[in-house]
């Protein structure tokens, strides 16, 4: 790595020196190095290298804090392991904070003190982002969203063609000329959003949701330009860029005058919009944002859609996306949706708030550099799935879906991976 300039160092340290509230100072002062977090981390569990212990990740950032922001660290750096911010340190930070953390937050729940470890890792990533040290592959995904409005740089024309294609398929399947996938229609109840990998490579989940909307007689629309629910700014931790991306959807709701933003099946995207978006923009949103799972809960409870549990005969399990469940509170909303559609449902062990990440979170799927680690830690998830004996794994996150597809292939699980929209569409009873 090249020598860090003073400007880079100043920019990074500003993040530690100018805390907005008491959260940063708290979490950087709280770790007591008990080491009991080790077994909660997939990286440590799979590879048993002590640099992966969550406390070590906190230590990287905390040692800088002590060096530059505490008296003891300034006078006696050796005593408290206060480290200088130099190339060696930055290299270590990139390798560990970007390359060995999915930001799943499982260690946070298990920390004996209560250190928000994932938050500290994100602070470390913020510092690296301020120094321009985000891995190129991850930054490319952010840049694509910044310049084109979606993270796969899909041209609008090609997106529209794909949607029209899916609409034709829907009309065929429903045998109804009025079955629609509306584009850019104003004053609708719902503005629906997608993960760009759906139109690009896996559009069946779009037609599945269109079918659900059709059955529920929903007033909805997609935008032909701003439909991307993802926000990799949550992972490169450049809050300014994250804010620009978050604004895309916020403004699109306003332009199309939709009542509500429905967040497509994407864990981090849901978090980045629902929980972080207003904070990136520093304002409350004057419309509601809900996830697909919550919307489907409403449809089922209010009788707007009818499901037949006997259609799907296979055993089904569910993978809890970290940002929807542990970091998003939707434990039972996801279960209600899936269990309403299938008869033979089995939980993984552990599951819910305690679930293991798929291994592809935190931007790992985008960062080719760390591919081997990603597949390795995924073995934990693969074995969890295998033990359930299920043949279908449902997960409401296309990022998880992609990782699970790879794990399925690599660890020979022989399962099908489906989104919630797809499993609901499969069980849907269409009343004419």
């Amino acid at each position: 790595m090249e020598k860090l300039s003073q400007e880079q160092i100043d920019k990074a340290l500003k993040i530690l020196k100018m805390p907005a509230d008491s959260k940063l100072v708290t979490h950087l002062n709280a770790c007591v190095h008990c080491g009991l977090c080790a077994d909660s981390c997939m990286y440590y569990k799979s590879m048993k290298e002590d640099k992966f212990i969550p406390a070590r990740k906190v230590e990287l950032v905390a040692s800088l804090y002590r060096r530059y922001c505490t008296l003891t660290g300034k006078i006696a750096p050796k005593l408290v392991n206060a480290r200088d911010l130099d190339e060696k340190m930055a290299e270590e930070m990139v390798d560990i904070l970007f390359g060995a953390c999915t930001l799943c937050g499982r260690c946070v729940k298990h920390c004996s003190i209560g250190v928000d470890i994932a938050y500290v890792v994100r602070i470390g990533r913020q510092m690296l982002a301020a120094m321009g040290l985000v891995p190129a592959t991850l930054q490319a995904t952010v840049d694509a969203a910044l310049t084109t409005g979606n993270n796969m740089a899909i041209p609008t024309e090609e997106f529209v063609d794909t949607i029209k294609w899916m609409e034709e398929e829907l009309i065929d399947e429903m045998q109804d000329e009025n079955a629609r996938i509306p584009l850019d229609e104003k004053d609708k109840n719902i503005l629906y959003t997608l993960n760009p990998r759906e139109p690009k490579f896996f559009p069946l989940s779009i037609s599945a949701m269109a079918k659900v909307f059709y059955a529920a007689k929903e007033s909805w629309t997609l935008s032909s330009t701003m439909y991307d629910v993802t926000n990799y700014g949550l992972f490169n931790c450049n809050d300014e860029e994250a804010g620009i991306i978050a604004r895309h959807l916020h403004d699109e709701v306003k332009i199309l005058n939709a009542k509500m933003l429905v967040l497509g099946e994407c864990g981090h995207g849901s978090r980045a919009n629902r929980w972080e978006g207003p904070n990136y923009l520093g304002m409350k949103y004057d419309f509601d944002m809900i996830t697909v799972a919550e919307l489907i809960n409403d449809y089922i409870r209010s009788g707007r859609i009818k499901l037949d549990k006997t259609i799907i005969k296979e055993r089904v399990t569910m993978h809890d996306p970290c940002h929807l469940v542990r970091n998003g509170g939707l434990l039972n909303e996801l279960r209600f949706a899936v269990k309403s559609a299938v008869n033979d449902f089995v939980e993984m062990n552990p599951h819910g708030n305690d679930n293991f990440c798929c291994g592809g979170g935190g931007g790992q799927l985008a960062m080719s550099e760390y591919n081997d680690r990603r597949i390795k830690i995924g073995e934990i998830k693969a074995e969890q799935i295998r033990k359930t004996g299920a043949t279908i794994v449902v997960t409401p996150c296309h990022n998880c879906v992609d990782q699970l597809m790879q794990l399925n292939h690599h660890y020979k699980l022989n399962v099908k991976i489906k989104s919630i929209g797809e499993i609901i569409a499969d069980a849907l009873v269409i009343e004419k």
């Binding site: 993960n195 990998r197 139109p199």
Partner: protein
């Protein structure tokens, strides 16, 4: 394939060096022992789109130009169009959640 460079994800570092033999080798890694005519039709569509536009084609374009159904493409390439077909066609890894 000792001299051919791949990124951490197994995508070609230099897509320019791609040839039929490399495609066959990558396919074997993915468990596809024989590339059929259908496989090749998909690979060529992807390859040509990349050379023309600098990116992987939409799945719609692949379906349209090969006359294959979506599900058939997923069956041909178990790792999907991105990590499966695009990798065999020698493209760099697409951005995003793939």
């Amino acid at each position: 394939m000792a001299q051919i460079e791949f990124d951490g994800d197994g995508f070609l570092v230099n897509p320019g060096i791609w040839n039929v033999d490399i495609a066959v080798e990558i396919a074997k890694e993915d468990g596809i022992q024989n590339l059929t005519e259908q496989h090749w039709s998909v690979i060529h569509v992807i390859r040509n789109n990349y050379l023309e536009k600098g990116m992987a084609p939409m799945i719609r374009v692949i379906c349209k130009e090969t006359n294959l159904k979506l599900r058939e493409i997923y069956e041909l390439f178990p790792l999907g169009p991105a990590r499966g077909a695009c990798r065999i066609a020698g493209l760099p890894k697409p951005d995003g959640c793939v």
